[in-house]
């Protein structure tokens, strides 16, 4: 530890005291429970009974369960649609707002409005307009001959609606990160490229994009991890039905624990979600670690 400038005691004791509340909270609410989940995944655990060690039985049951694999596949599809849908939309909006635009503040405020809406309201809003046969968007789609989104009966349509909901609620996050990154692109650089005869696309591709790439990758990483947790949208639309066809990982976990009281199986699911999240975040975490070590 670097020599503290103001007395030996306060040099070490002060930061420790200042960090204790936050670190204790993280330890008690997140870290220890997460480790305990790992241990629980090797137990037969149900609510109100002593857990019994059963080795890899939960993991075998999980990997043999076709519903789990379907949930994993559904999650994968939804995450793919949500993350790249959001990226395309967020990037387009960021580029649009970074350029010439009257009443820019107002436009940006209106674009981030969905960030304030809770998931239940969001589901209510979209269900209302897409209610089969009677919702106004369903009606309009039928009139146009496109056919409606049959989300209450068709599993694919239900997951598509969950993805639309995810994109609608979270695009503000991706948009704002990219918009803030675009503010940092030096205007002289773009100007110089333009003077050299580069077209708009070429300037974007060779000057702007490389500059915002780090922020873009961080946004994609964060959204991949958070989109993987999708629960409310699916739960409130279909509860995973019909016949567990639309379950995602978090719904599978919830159902195992709080409907079937199989905490062992739920813990195995939970641990796989944690491991997957950490793997996806690994490059980001590694970069963060290097940066911190460099500052020590």
């Amino acid at each position: 530890m670097r020599a503290a400038p103001r007395g030996k005691l306060s040099g070490v004791a002060t930061p420790v005291a200042l960090l204790t509340p936050a670190q204790l909270l993280l330890l008690a609410v997140i870290l220890l429970p997460s480790i305990y989940v790992g241990w629980m995944s090797f137990q037969r655990a149900t609510f109100g009974a002593e857990p019994v060690f059963i080795g890899f039985a939960n993991w075998q049951a999980l990997l043999a369960d076709r519903v789990f694999w379907r949930a994993a596949k559904n999650t994968f599809m939804v995450v793919l649609a949500v993350v790249y849908g959001e990226l395309a939309l967020g990037l387009a909006l960021a580029v649009l707002m970074a350029g010439w635009m009257p009443m820019k503040k107002t436009f940006i405020a209106l674009l981030i409005a969905p960030y304030a809406i809770n998931e239940v309201s969001a589901v209510a809003m979209w269900r209302y307009v897409l209610e089969p046969d009677i919702g106004m968007v369903s009606w309009a789609l039928i009139q146009l001959g496109i056919g409606q989104l049959d989300w209450s009966a068709d599993p694919t349509d239900a997951l598509a609606l969950a993805a639309i909901l995810g994109i609608w609620t979270h695009t503000p996050f991706t948009f704002l990160i990219l918009y803030a990154a675009l503010q940092g692109v030096p205007a002289e650089l773009q100007e110089a490229a333009r003077v050299d005869g580069a077209g708009a696309w070429s300037v974007f591709r060779h000057v702007t994009l490389p500059f915002i790439l780090p922020a873009l990758l961080v946004a994609v990483m964060f959204r991949t991890i958070t989109a993987m947790r999708i629960f409310s949208e699916v739960w409130l639309l279909t509860e995973g039905g019909p016949a567990r066809m639309t379950e995602v990982l978090a719904v599978y976990l919830y159902r195992a624990a709080f409907r079937y009281h199989d905490f062992g199986l739920a813990s195995a699911t939970a641990l796989s979600m944690v491991v997957l999240s950490l793997l996806i975040a690994a490059p980001y975490l590694l970069a963060a670690w290097r940066r911190m070590a460099a500052h020590a």
Binding site: M1, V37, W100, M101, A116, N118, F173, R229, L285
Partner: protein, 277 residues
């Protein structure tokens, strides 16, 4: 950015209008429909002109007497979580901004790592524990959970803001004999109030809107507004859309106003907390 030619201006404005329609249309529709008479809610084509009525709101308070107490629970939990998170994050952010060392780095890295853990994971061990402690359906459980999942982002935001405060200001106060509590109150806090607002906004929006923890840990006494709204949405005898829209309007009005008014804090917080990780 040079002002584009007429065609470019029209093109850009139309694109922005379409984007705004996509993001605002569902919200406007729900707020407007909450004042629509019940029989007009599914009228097609939707009538733009209707005589507004408060009938849906009257039915909300009559059929769902728990709604107002549940809103109060949301207020309590949001206030508690916001105060706890911003308080913890400000002092922790100070430690990271002003001190360095291997253990400090390690604990900072730990704070980044825990952000990757999906919140639903901790419900599994905490549910039996909370029942054992007889804390089921209490505000404190939600306050602790919401704080824990946002204290690290908030700490990052506060670290960035505090690092921007010149050390000389503190040193001057220290020379005058002020101790840390005094320096916090009179030097740091006034200068990083914007950061505290940004950090507080993120926690408050999360706590106000959160669904999964509320679903697992509350049933009646500490049930929050989103949860009672989910019950309105999943009734077996048909959704009363007017009532649900009235509830949604009341729930979203304060948070939407805050987010719209504080947009620059949202941007500042996101850049400090996520990108500069």
């Amino acid at each position: 950015m040079p002002r584009p030619r007429a065609f470019g201006r029209v093109w850009r404005l139309s694109a922005a209008m379409i984007a705004v329609a996509w993001s605002v249309f569902p919200i406007v529709l729900v707020v407007l429909s909450s004042f629509r008479p019940q029989r007009d809610i599914f009228r097609i084509p939707p009538s733009l002109i209707f005589s507004p009525s408060l009938d849906n709101y009257a039915r909300l308070f009559r059929d769902w007497p728990a709604f107002l107490p549940d809103m109060l629970n949301s207020v309590i939990v949001t206030a508690g979580a916001t105060l706890m998170t911003v308080g913890f994050a400000t002092i922790a952010g100070y430690a990271y901004a002003r001190h360095a060392g291997r253990w400090l780095n390690l604990s900072a890295f730990f704070m980044v790592v825990v952000r990757m853990i999906p919140p639903i994971v901790v419900t599994l061990p905490l549910f039996p524990l909370v029942s054992f402690l007889r804390l089921n359906d209490t505000h404190i459980v939600l306050v602790l959970l919401y704080s824990a999942f946002f204290v690290s982002l908030a700490t990052w935001i506060m670290r960035a803001f505090i690092a921007a405060v010149p050390r000389e200001l503190e040193e001057a106060a220290r020379v005058d004999g002020a101790h840390l509590g005094h320096i916090f109150r009179h030097v740091i806090v006034p200068l990083v109030a914007n950061g505290m607002l940004a950090a507080g906004l993120f926690v408050a929006v999360y706590a106000w809107n959160e669904f999964v923890f509320a679903l697992v840990f509350t049933t009646r006494n500490a049930r929050t507004a989103p949860l009672v709204m989910s019950e309105m949405l999943s009734t077996t005898d048909g959704v009363d859309w007017g009532v649900l829209f009235a509830a949604a309007t009341i729930q979203l009005a304060p948070v939407l106003a805050c987010v719209l008014a504080a947009q620059r804090y949202v941007i500042a917080g996101l850049t400090a907390g996520a990108v500069k990780g």
